[in-house]
Amino acid sequence: MRDVAVVSFSYSTVAKEQMRNEVEMLAPVITEAIDASGIARSDIGFTCSGSFDYLQGGPFSFVMGLDAVGAWPPIRESHVEMDGAWALYEAWIALQTGEVDSALVYGFGKASQGNVHEIMSLQLDPYYVAPLWPSMVDLAALQARAYLDASGRSERDLAGVVAQAMRSARDTPQAIRSGEPSIEDLLASPYVASPLRDADIFPTTDGVAVIVLAAGDLARSVNKRPAWIRGLDHRIEPHSLGARDLTRSDSTALAAKHAGVASGPIDVAEVHAQFSHEVLILSEALGVDPSIVNPSGGPLAANGIMSAGLVRIGEVARRIMDGTANRGVAHATSGPALQQNLVCVLEGE
């Protein structure tokens, strides 16, 4: 394996961006990340992005996003119709080939332009599930109840997850929500989709995130303490919801095993839990204590659709680069009810 590291990370979020289009949101963050990387824009070897056309209801939104990159003379570029974390996976593979030494990775999306809970229904099985129009919240609630029933945990435990996330988010400038809610107040609020309440569900977020990757000596020359990717793996489960065990995340556990999560101590974990119960399911699957999970507040505080998974990798990398952590794990998810999961182990040296 070739040594590849995160050398810079920037992201921005807003609850509802009405002043700027996607290109205008992306351009300053891309520029900020490239400037911080110490690598010239024209020297970047590969560019890969993650976005989702249904967020704006039109095809090829990623082509438009390239206006923010500077794609002339022609660049090597690719795109995934997924969260930017999977774009990072593709870029990491490109770096492994040895053909390029650096990569620009970004994810972007404006979830506020439509009903994002409903838009996500378009990723469901079109024969058996999509015609019934369950929203992503409805499906998450099915998983939440299955998990609570099986684990013996309660809605009070979910409120505890939310309270921890909101407290942690107070130090995160990008947080859409933060604070010090009491467990009792959280439990007193109405259900959105029983057993989930508003605070158990991510806030609708428009966001962009950008990471610059560099390999080996280039990473060492541009960054005093790069965040090295020690393991990266993603796994998927059957699409049939009723054919999966919703009370656990086997795909996360398998990805964690292949990424080597357990082969060293974990100082920090950031998981792409868009719902409170997912923090608990994912912590169990990764084998980490929930108390060290999502020091940024996580997606319950800000969840840029198509960028929040990449942000998890960035939030861990940032803490390694600034020396507050030495080894951490980041997780990203895709599909309904944690169907597909990516695990990335990062480490300083």
Partner: protein, 327 residues
């Protein structure tokens, strides 16, 4: 800066989206149409409901020969409550539960709806029974909803289908409909451009330190990613760089008759091309390098439709060298 424009936009496939379902899904949907829930027995003996073409664990092929009838009663494995059903999306117009239901005899569960009045009537492990529509067409909505069931009670009858000459045929396809509504924020640069159109002007932008002007910029110089923070008025005359003659009717409201010409126009004073229709001459007169001018609508709006089409100016053609970099 004026308030950026917001456009309403809907994504919809008129008449629905047509899908072939294949043999396995088709057999299952045929069963639903006939008031029967079927699963597929897998190699290890488990019964998969709803059946898929492949065993989700082993990828072994599933055949219609492996089908077995299950249910009709079933057990709720997990559920969530929908307090506010969404019109035009949900089949029920009153609060209901989404549930994963395991029909008797099955080893997996299926997503469907349980029709009860309050969430207090729902519980994991509760017994339910399907209530069938009388206008079944071979789709998951042939079951109207599941309702609570007490073991031993009579099983509700499946209402007979009205006579149809297609009766007995297998279901081979489904039509799914759906509509999503959006409010798209144009952003600063596109708003500037669109408001310019409302005044009969084409507004471009350029980045600090660059001479390159982009008409209808999305906010950056696409070659560098730098913000096009400087507004520049661009001419409404230009040169056809490339074009095609369209012989397909109905593609554009602006061109009711075929054949017509679609073209890329390099505007005077801009460094990118602009899409438009060419009229005012016969299609066989249109050529690369031809000089054209915008034909503006009489009543201008902040919309691309303000330029109806482009027509020849009669000036001498541009030299190829002048536009070859924009092809």
């Amino acid at each position: 800066m004026t308030e950026p424009l917001v456009a309403r936009h809907s994504l919809e496939y008129p008449g629905g989206y047509t899908r072939s379902v294949g043999e396995v899904v088709g057999r299952y949907l045929t069963g639903l149409r006939d008031g029967r829930i079927e699963g597929a027995r897998l190699a290890d003996g488990r019964v998969l409901v709803p059946p898929t073409e492949y065993d989700p664990l082993t990828s072994a092929a599933v055949s219609v020969d492996d089908f077995v009838e299950v249910g009709p009663a079933g057990t709720v494995v997990t559920w969530s409550w929908v307090a506010n059903p969404r019109a035009e999306k949900h089949a029920l117009d009153r609060p209901f539960a989404f549930a994963l239901i395991r029909p008797d005899g099955a080893d997996t569960s299926m997503l469907h709806m349980v029709d009860v009045s309050t969430p207090e009537e729902m519980s994991t492990g509760m017994r339910v029974i399907p209530h069938w529509r009388s206008d079944r067409i071979g789709g998951v909505s042939d079951i109207e909803a599941w309702r609570p069931y007490k073991d031993g009670d009579p099983i509700p009858e499946v209402p007979p289908l009205p006579f149809s000459e297609n009766m007995g045929d297998s279901v081979t396809g489904i039509v799914t409909s759906g509509r999503l509504d959006y409010e798209i924020a144009a952003g600063e640069s596109t708003t500037r451009f669109l408001l310019g159109l409302a005044e009969g002007k084409i507004i471009g932008g350029k980045a600090v330190g660059s001479d390159d002007v982009y008409a209808a910029s999305r906010g950056t110089d696409p070659t560098t990613g730098a913000p096009t923070s400087i507004s520049v008025d661009v001419s409404d005359t230009g040169v056809i760089t490339t074009f095609c003659i369209v012989n397909i009717p109905g593609l554009s409201d602006l061109a009711p008759e075929i054949p017509y010409v679609s073209a890329q126009v390099l505007l005077d004073g801009a460094n990118n091309t602009f899409f438009g229709l060419i009229r005012g001459c016969s299609v066989d007169e249109v050529r690369m390098g031809m000089r054209v001018k915008a034909k503006w609508l009489e009543k201008l709006t902040a919309d691309h439709g303000s330029i109806e089409w482009w027509e020849p100016t009669g000036e001498p053609d541009a030299e190829y060298a002048d536009y070859k970099d924009y092809l």
